[in-house]
């Protein structure tokens, strides 16, 4: 039951006292009544005046019980403010309480400002998670056996959540569209995973990890969630080592670390360039153990097509079996979306070919708010695009910036000669090279955060310093590190440290040890030896910080529907730091969701099995069937890829690394047109009830075509530059971002109302209790 404080009811005088009258809405048999309570304030002292409901009121007993509950809640807020010795104003009280949207027209006259309640526990930041865990509702082990949970997606977040939920005793149904849960795209994460273990003794702590993440995210993430993330990061490493994940170790047998962008400590744990693979296989093994015990039922080659809501709660999904092509119904007491990000909206990205937004978008259409869709991460070090046929881009891990130096020629004519193939980078002298990151950001150098490194590369290339045929590439050069490591090794081995051949050979060996698989990948794609020639790299779409809006419990605005991992929005603000995606996926899956979900499920212990033959399932399945029928019988003239590529071009050119008002308005119109054309002219071959990759793709692209519009709308409405969102209108003379904390320190959560660009905006104000909001500087 929500409490409302309206403008009208905020303050009035009663004699000498200032009074406030919050009210809540009581609903029974579709009848709603407002019940008022009153609060007295004098300076800092608040007291709650409990107003009894008249005994003549039929439901006086229940209403009074509600008032008592409200009283308790308000008193706990009053107490916490007293403890902190902070003044409690009606406005802050209002913010502490949920003020939800009022659905029915009969109470239209009540003007409430919609504010999202993130349900952040009160109390000091460092104690929030601990005390929340202590106060949360639990489900007893015997009751867990009667509760089903659906988990969509088996990447780090989905696999770890499935495994832990099953360990706890819930019955899990896990879904992935790939042929095995181990194929989820978390597997491709290269560089590492952060944890505030401080094994290197370089002054790391939970607070520092928290601080770096908030700052890296350009002050657009939710403080309490990020602190929790930092707090459980150490546990993740313990858990993974216990599972047999072979992290890199030093000669003493202890875990090794390296450094990533945007931080000044070494806190990244890694397994060569395959950290994601090793962590995912760890989570996959934990899943396998539960599959063997019968606690997880695994549905591979199944794609979620819709969520089913019963009485407003998420109670199941409709999935399409990719092998038979048939639609199937699955019920559960809660649905967890762990389907990853939507970077593939750009067509070309470092995501896997199948990565898509469909699961997130389907729940959005059914009532889950979508937050900050325009916050996209463009990763600075990817292999540049080589032609129109290209299907995807390949990332070169950020860890390479530990040992690689980024540069372009100082002289435009040199750059031109390089582009024409008339000059080799090896022939450009040291003094003729512009190490532009080291020049512009001396404190962090090559290890500035990703958004900054990407924009700097774009700036150089736009100004004519690019070094490949298309002029869209910069160098990532390892020669200095090869030399440095080689010398060190030669000294250690007692070899001649002045012999360049020996030094070179030894240095290459060290680099190979550290990044061998990445160098091999590069060589296979580009056909050039990166041990000799500097790598050519360019930014590419990599990760989406935006996603489904969730509260502190990771629940979306649909009761019983949760979103974890990259699919949600909460932890990375407008820019994610390297090696934090793995951390967040596993934190959500192993250590957060399995506990917070109990808070919701404690009401469901006597619900019993949810039937799939209800009218809600019928309707949901029917709507999916209609979409599939429409797509397959269209007989248009263009393939699905044709539309996906077109959408990608619009997104990259107009909503990419830098954005402006005109382009964004154009993008909205162009996407609208493209979507219309898609439904008119798309050609999907084959039948529904068979293995049909084209049909699966068509459904995904249809959703991207809606999301694109919302994405552009979100970027258009956010009139500031922050993190990965760079608006050309808001920059300093030397091209740095200008953030607007006064007007935009909030999360944009969009409610679906039909046309994506008409979506309704809900704001979650971001409050920073423990951190001073500053202009981000890496200089």
């Amino acid at each position: 039951m929500a409490l409302y404080l309206t403008e009208k009811h905020i303050k009035y005088k009663n004699g000498k006292d200032d009074c406030v009258s919050p009210f809540f809405i009581y609903q029974n048999n579709n009848k709603r009544t407002k019940v008022f309570c009153s609060l007295k304030i004098s300076n800092k002292n608040w007291c709650f005046d409990k107003k009894r409901v008249k005994s003549s009121d039929k439901e006086s007993g229940l209403k009074n019980k509600k008032i008592k509950l409200v009283k308790l809640q308000i008193e706990s807020i009053i107490d916490s403010y007293k403890l902190k010795n902070e003044p409690l104003t009606p406005e802050t009280l209002k913010a502490e309480f949920e003020i939800t949207k009022i659905l029915d027209s009969d109470i239209k006259n009540i003007k409430t400002r919609s504010l999202l309640n993130s349900k952040i526990p009160i109390g000091p930041l460092a104690n929030k998670w601990k005390s929340h865990k202590g106060n949360i509702n639990l489900v007893s082990p015997s009751n867990k056996r009667n509760i089903d949970i659906i988990v969509v997606g088996t990447g780090l977040a989905g696999a770890s959540a499935s495994a832990t939920l099953a360990e706890l005793g819930y019955n899990v149904k896990a879904f992935c569209f790939q042929d095995s849960p181990r194929r989820a795209h978390s597997i491709a994460a290269q560089g590492g995973i952060n944890a505030s273990k401080n094994y290197q003794g370089d002054g790391d702590s939970d607070y520092r990890l928290f601080y770096d993440t908030i700052k890296g995210g350009d002050y657009r993430s939710r403080e309490a969630n990020v602190y929790r993330l930092a707090e459980v990061s150490g546990n993740i490493i313990d858990q993974c080592v216990a599972q047999g994940v072979p992290f890199a170790r030093d000669y003493g047998g202890l875990l090794d670390n390296r450094s990533f962008g945007g931080v000044q400590v070494s806190r990244t744990f890694y397994a060569k360039g395959q950290t994601g693979q090793q962590l995912l296989l760890g989570a996959y093994s934990a899943m396998n153990r539960q599959i063997a015990r019968g606690k997880i039922e695994m549905f591979s080659r199944h794609e979620m097509m819709d969520v089913v809501k019963i009485d407003g709660k998420a109670r199941g999904i409709i999935a399409r079996n990719h092998v038979s092509g048939k639609l199937e119904r699955f019920s559960a007491h809660a649905v967890v979306i762990a389907s990853g990000g939507y970077g593939n909206i750009f067509y070309l990205s470092t995501n896997a070919m199948g990565s898509n937004v469909t699961a997130s978008w389907k729940i959005h259409r059914k009532g889950a708010y979508f937050a900050n869709p325009c916050f996209t991460q463009i990763h600075p070090t990817c292999i540049p695009v080589s032609g129109d046929y290209q299907s995807k881009l390949t990332l070169m891990s950020e860890s390479l910036r530990n040992d690689g130096r980024i540069w372009v020629p100082k002289d435009k004519t040199d750059a031109k000669l390089v582009r024409e193939g008339k000059l080799s980078p090896l022939d450009i002298k040291e003094e003729d090279r512009d190490y532009y990151l080291e020049r512009r950001y001396p404190a962090f150098g090559n290890l500035v955060p990703r958004d900054i490194a990407s924009r700097a590369a774009k700036e150089r290339c736009d100004n004519g310093y690019g070094v490949n045929k298309t002029g869209e590439a910069v160098y990532l050069d390892f020669s200095h590190s090869i030399y440095r490591y080689g010398k060190e090794k030669a000294l250690l081995n007692g070899q001649d440290e002045n012999d360049n051949n020996i030094v070179n050979m030894l240095g290459k060996k060290v680099i190979k040890q550290k990044y061998g698989n990445l160098f091999q990948m590069y060589e296979k794609i580009v056909d050039e030896d990166p041990y000799v020639m500097p790598m050519k790299i360019y930014p590419a779409v990599h990760y989406t910080m935006g996603g489904v809006w969730v509260d502190y419990n990771l629940m979306t605005t649909i009761p019983g529907c949760f979103a974890i991992g990259e699919a949600n929005f909460s932890d990375h603000g407008s820019n994610r730091l390297g090696a934090s995606a793995l951390m967040q996926g596993l934190a959500d899956g192993y250590f957060v969701l399995p506990y917070t979900i109990g808070d919701y499920l404690s009401d469901d212990i006597s619900t019993g099995k949810i039937k799939t033959d209800s009218k809600e399932f019928d309707e949901s399945e029917k709507s999916v069937q209609e979409l599939l029928d429409k797509l397959i019988s269209n007989q248009g003239k263009h393939s699905v890829d044709y539309y996906h590529k077109k959408l990608g071009k619009i997104m990259w050119n107009k909503c990419g690394m830098s954005r402006n008002q005109n382009d964004l308005v154009d993008a909205i119109n162009e996407i609208k047109k493209l979507r219309k054309d898609f439904y008119k002219n798309v050609n999907v071959t084959g039948k529904i009830e068979e293995y049909n990759e084209q049909l699966a793709k068509a459904v995904r692209v249809a959703d991207f075509l809606e999301l694109g519009e919302l994405f552009a709308k979100d970027a258009l409405e956010r009139n500031e530059s922050c993190g990965g969102h760079f608006r050309e209108e808001y920059q300093t003379k030397d091209g740095e971002a200008i953030r607007d904390d006064k007007n935009y320190k909030f999360v944009s959560a969009w409610e679906y109302v039909g046309e994506p660009s008409q979506a309704k905006l809900h704001k979650e104000d971001l409050k920073y209790e423990e951190i001073e909001v500053k202009t981000r500087s890496y200089k």
């Binding site: 313990d238 216990a242 599972q243 070919m353 390949t394 794609i525």
Partner: protein
């Protein structure tokens, strides 16, 4: 360049398959092999012919989805890579390329070049894990030091991507390299020792039940493995197996 393609087409598991010939033009050396197939599929769609189905996802050689047998070799003519990392510069103008699915009794064909490798998952269910719960209070990760060499060996075994090239290549369709990679990984680590015996016995039993063949030490699996998983792992698994049997 111009290429003559001979590709295995099969409507579904029950139907009989056959090779179909396709001619393709304007392929450049920088394209990846799968991008070449994308272009062919785009052409087929525009002619209203059912495009060729093949498994693929990450297209950077790590997810293990892609699985083509190209000119008689798993993942094609290049070394140490998966099909998605194969580039057309490995072929010449006018070449004929034969593309088949990974063939093994335990990998039934779903459609065209897509096969069902769920037998691999089922083997993992029987022991490919360490029985540890997510409690949040396991001991600190640095409590047990592990020799760097052991950690590195465990890692090398753990890099298996589960693509099935070893099975497709083996004349006996044996899954020994795949199973041994997991057994080996855990055998190098102290955490894996506790359940070593049950693990190897159960995984080998399931491997046999799935219908994979035996190892006759031909070594083809090691040659074709895109991740260079060493055949030494098989020896190690055999040792673990005998140890468990005694």
């Amino acid at each position: 360049m111009k290429l003559n393609l001979k590709i295995w087409r099969q409507k579904d598991n029950e139907s009989k398959g056959n090779f179909e010939k396709y001619l393709i033009d304007d392929i450049t050396p920088e394209m990846s092999f799968l991008e070449m197939l994308d272009i062919l599929n785009e052409k087929l769609i525009n002619e209203n012919i059912d495009p060729i189905s093949f498994d693929h996802d990450c297209r950077e050689g790590i997810c293990g989805s892609c699985s083509l047998f190209i000119n008689g070799r798993a993942h094609g003519p290049d070394k140490g890579i998966t099909t998605c990392q194969l580039h057309m510069r490995k072929f010449k103008d006018g070449d004929s390329i034969i593309i088949e699915p990974f063939r093994a009794k335990s990998f039934p064909i779903i459609k065209d070049l897509v096969v069902d490798r769920s037998a691999f998952d089922r083997i993992q269910h029987t022991g490919g894990y360490i029985s540890i719960n997510t409690s949040g209070n396991t001991q600190d990760a640095n409590t047990i030091p592990i020799r760097k060499e052991d950690a590195d060996n465990a890692f090398d075994a753990a890099t298996c991507i589960g693509c099935g090239a070893c099975v497709a290549t083996c004349k006996n369709a044996s899954a020994m390299l795949y199973v041994s990679a997991k057994v080996s990984q855990f055998s190098y680590l102290p955490q894996g020792k506790v359940e070593a015996k049950e693990r190897v016995l159960n995984m080998v039993k399931q491997m046999d039940e799935e219908g994979f063949g035996n190892c006759t030490n031909t070594g083809a699996c090691e040659v074709e493995c895109p991740k260079g998983i060493s055949i030494k792992n098989i020896a190690r698994m055999n040792r673990e197996f005998y140890k468990a049997k005694i």
